[in-house]
């Protein structure tokens, strides 16, 4: 009975989102209200406990939302200037070979877009481009969805990884290596899948060397950037380096000559300047000690006392949360602020070079607001739900039950839990918020390597986030497949299933090799 009550908030969200097709914002609110009721009635939460839990949740929410808001603002600043369109139009100039085009747009460029934007943008931008080049709409949506999935955790300026760090309160440098390693390997396999979806076995036979080369370059770059604590740009830099490698490689596969028009180099350089600013700002903030010191002066940190439940209708023993600081936010060097500085500088450059037309500023602000409001609501309610669950012992109960029932098989199951969370909520970030503590506590009980298990959580969530109904609807609608979302999902499932299975194997190996 205790287990069912502890699991019920997650079940509520799952049923409402999958069964009743509710949005994440509505389902999150329902989950929050449900957890509040059962926490008070059955788990002995009193006003003081709920007050501290809400405050802790607010800190976590701010930590995650600062990145999401600023990342979207930066995306809108560049998109409104026509930068994304310009870069996209330049890509077909590289080659007319179909397989190479699929790899460049569906894999490398989609990864780059995930690095800078995310939020469904990669498929929404690249799928119509591929359809325009003559690929079938289904192949376009499926290949671009697979192509960028590996970059989700460290994409969107690292907002999903930030959620993992914030929720578990573990240092980023301990979590980044395995997460980046697992996703990098999945990215390489993803490249083969993109080639297969767009050109079958022949495409793989012809381009396997190119796929290995690009996959290794992107994966290794992604890994190295992530472990040097610049994880918020790991996918972005991986994508940029991938694009740089693709240029010479594409010359080896020119394909049949067709008229692609004239490449406008000046426009391309201006378009890329916004992203160059991003790299520069991040390097200045992270690498130069005086700047880092100056920006690190204002820190939001709150010390919380010991919090105990007071018993409830289930008659459970009091659950104690030890005293300690909540999430620490270093205000002016926070990734969200870094993105804000970049957005302002990028805006100045695009404005100075005449990229904006009348009303652009209004569209940037309104577009950002429109895009972030509903996700802000869903993240706030789900984070609060998760923190209350943790403070009344629900997560502890779930972890103990899971450890007892699946035992040694837990590492194999771990990525599927993350995948389930992302499938339900449509977001790697939300999955990490809901399940990361559970995964961490279960691995503690089973004495497994926590970093490996949390890497499995976020990698499984990243890969499965692309088959979430909300993402599929966006992808299908932009490629002209409205009403055929089921077909897209059916086509995507085996590929994503295979990728999550790969993460299961890697997790099993990881905990076996590194106890």
């Amino acid at each position: 009975m205790t287990f069912i009550f502890a699991l019920s908030p997650i079940i509520v969200i799952l049923v409402l989102m999958v069964g009743f097709k509710w949005s994440a914002a509505r389902a999150g609110a329902a989950g929050y209200l449900w957890v509040l009721i059962i926490a008070i009635l059955f788990f002995g939460a009193d006003g003081t406990l709920l007050a501290y839990a809400h405050t802790k949740a607010l800190l976590l929410t701010i930590d995650v939302l600062m990145i999401i808001w600023a990342a979207f603002l930066l995306y809108r600043v560049t998109d409104e200037a026509g930068a994304i369109k310009t870069i996209g139009e330049a890509l077909p100039h590289l080659t007319n070979e179909r397989g190479m085009q699929a790899l460049i747009i569906g894999w490398v460029f989609a990864t780059f877009l995930q690095g800078v934007g995310g939020f469904g943008v990669p498929v929404a931008v690249t799928a119509p481009m591929m359809v325009g080049l003559g690929f079938s709409p289904l192949a376009a949506v499926v290949s671009t969805s697979i192509g960028h999935a590996w970059g989700v955790t460290f994409g969107s300026m690292g907002s999903s990884f930030q959620a993992l760090v914030a929720t578990t309160d573990l240092p980023d440098y301990s979590l980044a290596p395995f997460s980046a390693l697992f996703l990098g390997i999945a990215g390489l396999l993803g490249g083969f899948m993109v080639a297969y979806v767009c050109g079958g076995r022949k495409s793989i036979q012809r381009l396997w060397g190119v796929i290995v080369c690009i996959g290794l370059v992107m994966g290794v770059t992604h890994y190295l950037i992530a472990i040097t604590r610049l994880w918020n740009i790991a996918t972005f830099v991986g994508g940029i380096v991938g694009l740089m490698v693709v240029f010479p490689l594409a010359r080896l596969f020119p394909g049949e000559k067709t008229d692609n028009g004239v490449l406008k180099w000046k426009s391309l350089l201006i378009a890329l300047s916004g992203y160059l600013v991003l790299v520069l700002v991040i390097l200045i903030v992270q690498v130069f000690p005086p700047v880092k010191q100056l920006l690190g002066k204002i820190v939001i940190s709150i010390n919380f006392p010991e919090i105990t439940t007071k018993g409830g209708l289930l008659g459970l023993a009091p659950f104690v949360t030890p005293p300690g600081p909540g999430r620490k936010i270093v205000l002016f060097s926070h990734t969200g602020m870094v993105l804000l500085y970049t957005a302002i500088l990028a805006y100045a450059i695009y404005h100075w070079t005449g990229c904006y037309v009348k009303g652009s500023e209004r569209r940037i602000i309104s577009g950002t607001m429109k895009s972030v409001l509903s996700s802000s609501v869903s993240i706030t309610s789900m984070v609060t739900m998760s923190v209350i669950m943790e403070h009344v012992g629900m997560i502890d109960i779930l972890a103990r039950s899971m450890a007892g029932s699946v035992g040694g098989l837990f590492p194999i199951i771990s990525p599927w839990i993350g995948a389930l969370g992302a499938f339900i909520t449509g977001s790697n970030t939300n999955s990490n918020v809901i399940f990361a503590r559970l995964q961490m506590q279960t691995s503690l009980l089973l004495q497994l390597n926590i970093a490996v298990i949390l890497a499995a959580q976020t990698a499984g969530a990243a890969l499965a986030s692309v088959i979430a109904p909300t993402k599929i609807i966006v992808g299908a609608s932009t490629a002209g497949m409205i009403g055929k979302e089921g077909e897209v999902m059916r086509s995507l499932l085996p590929y994503i299933g295979l990728l999550v299975l790969l993460i299961s194997v890697l997790t099993g190996l990881g905990v076996w090799l590194i106890p």
Binding site: R26, A29, G47, T48, L50, A51, H54, S374, V377, T384
Partner: protein, 59 residues
């Protein structure tokens, strides 16, 4: 009822109000808890609940 209906028509405004109600009262919960002001705690949690109820009603 009219307020809910108008928020349903203007979902962005609805989300904005819901978000404010979910976050602003939560900021007041720490001093309330530190001073053991039980009445304030429940009033503020009540406002957070209202914010979630608004989000729940926005179809």
């Amino acid at each position: 009822m009219n307020i809910i209906e108008s928020l349903k028509k203007n979902k962005q405004l609805g989300y904005f109000i819901a978000f404010l109600l979910m976050t602003l009262p939560a900021a007041g919960l720490l001093p309330a808890a530190d001073h053991a002001a039980a009445a304030w705690i429940w009033i503020l949690i009540g406002l957070v609940v209202v914010g979630n109820l608004i989000a729940l009603l926005l179809k």
